[in-house]
């Protein structure tokens, strides 16, 4: 007889542990929503920072986005969890460390998305707003931002989809999301093949429809232009 011994797949083990796996999935979804909200807020502030008329504000915002875009996400997460408490004296749970690191990471990328959206609006629009005696703030709010929104939504949705998958990195610092649960169950049951296969399928099944939705958004908003 040649070849390796036949492996017997035991998906019933996965089924037994499904409730545990689903608690992890629930946290994955929660984290995605919270990180996105944090990123949307931080990104908006940073984007306006980068477009500020004050050089110092621009420099700080620029440094922030570059720092987050040029270091690996895993390094950022581990740094916030292990180093930040020692530097600052504030100890955070894995959950909050992960939320902060990932949220601020998303914020850096969102800032670039907002900025590109705002800059893509024709400068003539700002001139027209100012010529009507609107203030700079009114022109931004009533003229530029409404036009930027449609251009920002598709890349924002792309960001969301990759964020959903990236939350799995937080398992590295002990956030009990889907990936962490999977590793836990795999160790307990000695069935990593089944567990990780199911987890991969779960991520795919949940991500693919979102990805389709993103494509639909792109088509829809391109037609509006």
């Amino acid at each position: 007889m040649g070849g390796p011994p036949r492996y017997t797949w035991r998906f019933d083990v996965v089924l037994e542990n499904l409730p545990l796996l689903l608690t992890g999935l629930w946290l994955t979804c929660t984290l995605t929503v919270l990180c996105m909200l944090l990123g949307l807020g931080v990104g908006l502030v940073v984007a306006f920072g980068r477009l500020s008329r004050w050089r110092l504000v621009r420099a700080v915002a620029f440094a922030y986005t570059e720092l987050f875009r040029t270091t690996p996400l895993l390094v950022q997460i581990v740094w916030v969890f292990y180093v930040l408490p020692i530097v600052s004296g504030i100890t955070l749970s894995p959950f909050f460390s992960g939320l902060l690191a990932l949220g601020f990471n998303v914020g850096a990328f969102m800032a670039e998305i907002y900025r590109a959206g705002i800059l893509s609006v024709n400068p003539g629009q700002t001139a027209a707003g100012l010529a009507l005696r609107m203030t700079r703030a009114q022109t931004m709010r009533r003229v530029v931002l409404p036009q930027a929104v449609t251009r920002v939504i598709p890349p924002m949705a792309t960001m969301w989809v990759s964020l959903f998958k990236d939350t799995s990195i937080l398992s590295a610092i002990g956030v009990i999301e889907l990936m962490f649960r999977a590793r836990e169950i795999a160790t307990d049951t000695y069935r990593p093949l089944e567990i990780f296969t199911v987890v991969a399928v779960l991520y795919f099944v949940l991500t693919y429809p979102q990805s389709l939705a993103v494509n639909a958004l792109y088509r829809r908003f391109r037609m509006q232009e």
Binding site: A127, A128, L132, Q138, Q147
Partner: protein, 248 residues
């Protein structure tokens, strides 16, 4: 000129190392229509944009009814309100209908009630011949129609002076007339107007005075008849002959 609406003294504008305006002096009387001509790059548009301070003048002073609007303490929005501007590329707000475009100034800036702003906007769109296009988005309007909406939008702020920056240059030839007609009517009503244009016939018919720009300065000015038929300056004659040659 005692009753000057606008008086410009020694206006300079630099863009980096580029010296775009090199000391412009001009006084415009109340109700006067001044047509500004000159080759591209001669500073005509920059001059207009300095008048409502979309561009910051580098040096020199601008008075609007005797008030120095280049003074650092001046209330900029209030200044801009009195000076309406129409752009070459219309710059209508694409996410708003024609009516909403015209209502924007009165409701956002003048804090008029929506009902009042609507009445004013309707009346102005009617005036520019677009009473039937109130709820149409700019993308569904022709260039000439868009430009007429833009004129109505500027008029909605009840300005004392209107600036027109090559407003027919981006239009198909057959759409130019409808815009010029609206402008002529405005001139007949006594609006003070500064018009940068290449439409020499408009200048001939409507202008009280024609001003020739070259290399950032006014090199010649006078009544349209004189400028167009026997300009003093050789540069002006050459510029005008090139224009006529281009048309025919």
């Amino acid at each position: 000129m005692a009753d000057a609406m606008i008086r410009v003294q020694g206006l300079h504008k630099h863009f980096g190392t580029l010296h775009v305006l090199r000391g412009v002096d001009l006084a415009v009387a109340r109700g006067e229509v001044v047509v500004i001509i000159g080759p591209s790059g001669s500073g005509k548009s920059t001059f207009l944009r300095c008048l409502n301070r979309l561009e910051e003048p580098s040096r020199g002073r601008i008075f609007l009814e005797g008030t120095d609007i280049t003074h650092p303490k001046v209330n900029l929005p209030r200044v801009r309100r009195q000076i309406g501007m129409v752009f070459q590329h219309f710059n209508l707000f694409p996410h708003r209908t024609a009516l909403e475009n015209v209502m924007e100034g009165p409701s956002t800036v003048l804090r008029m009630s929506r009902a009042d702003a609507r009445v004013r906007a309707q009346a102005l769109l009617d005036k520019v011949g677009l009473a039937d296009k109130l709820d149409v988005k700019p993308s569904a309007l022709s260039g000439g129609q868009q430009q007429r909406v833009a004129i109505a939008r500027a008029l909605a702020m009840d300005p004392k002076v209107m600036l027109f920056d090559e407003v027919t240059s981006a239009l198909d030839p057959e759409l130019v007339g409808e815009v010029l007609t609206v402008m002529k009517r405005l001139a007949d009503e006594g609006m003070t107007m500064l018009v940068v244009t290449h439409e020499m016939q408009f200048g001939e018919k409507v202008a009280d005075r024609v001003v020739m720009f070259d290399e950032g300065a006014i090199i010649e000015e006078g009544p349209p008849k004189k400028i167009f038929s026997r300009a003093d300056h050789e540069r002006t004659r050459r510029f005008l002959s090139q224009l006529h040659w281009d048309v025919s």
